[in-house]
Symmetry: none
Subunit: 91 residues, 4 copies
């Protein structure tokens, strides 16, 4: 017997070890993700320092991510509502 005496299959300890392993794997990955998040922030900061409008760049990236049709559909709904209360925004 190489393990804790008196326990047949040692399930409680095993569970603890496994939980610890899962938690640490997740934390490791979360750190990686944070690094990438920071890298994105750096790109925008660089763009800004070169005189570009970060807000517009973010908007551009966000809209490219969406399906183009979906964007137009959203704009259409918005425009309809704006019309309904007598205001204009797009274009």
């Amino acid at each position: 017997m190489t393990d804790t005496p008196g326990e047949g299959h040692n399930s409680k300890n095993d569970a603890g070890l496994k939980i610890k392993a899962y938690v640490e794997r997740v934390e490791r990955l979360a750190e990686e993700r944070q690094v990438t998040t920071d890298d994105i922030k750096d790109v925008y900061a660089e763009a800004k320092s070169n005189g570009f409008d970060v807000k517009a760049l973010r908007r551009l990236v966000a809209q490219r991510k969406k399906d183009a049709d979906k964007v137009k559909e959203e704009n259409a709904i918005f425009e309809t509502y704006a019309h309904a209360i007598g205001q204009e925004y797009l274009a």
Copy 2:
């Protein structure tokens, strides 16, 4: 002498009382604000339950809040950038 003996003007205690008062005033106001925030949430929930598109409503409110010229300026910058990489989104 009605207060703590041995202290001429009791400044330390006074400061503590004042700090406590400021903190509690702020906390009271923060609670009020939270109530109003929840009320706004309720309005949108009601609109949604009546079949309206909440996202479009929020966008409408947000844009009304901005100066109309500012909105057009932001759209213009965005459009310029989109053009610059050969894409179209608005209208």
Copy 3:
């Protein structure tokens, strides 16, 4: 006839009116919230004018909120774990 004469079912106009109503309710509430936000600012300004450190006061308020949240959080964690155990051992 209880509604606008000369329009059959008037649905388009109704929607517009409702949208306008929702928007205005939200805007009204947003104004209220802004008032409260300004009140909070005033409290801090007053504290500052009386020689207190605003940053430290803000920290204090934030910390107290965090502590209050922590109680709820701990209850939630307990429930989660209780549930998890219940799932694994009792179900």
Copy 4:
């Protein structure tokens, strides 16, 4: 002539190229981040398939992060107060 013929200083085109470059760098990084996010999801899925409660694991990770943050936070509070006292009594 090393660049596009017929354009004096070519600034408009340059801006477009730079915008495109920024957008693509961000999109590239966003993809990486998504991969990591998916990896995390996979870890939880694996844990779940081995009979662990995912919600409890997420809580655990979140709590550990919060605890780690709390240490920094407490240091910050200490500094703030020290500074506040320093301002009031030493300066």
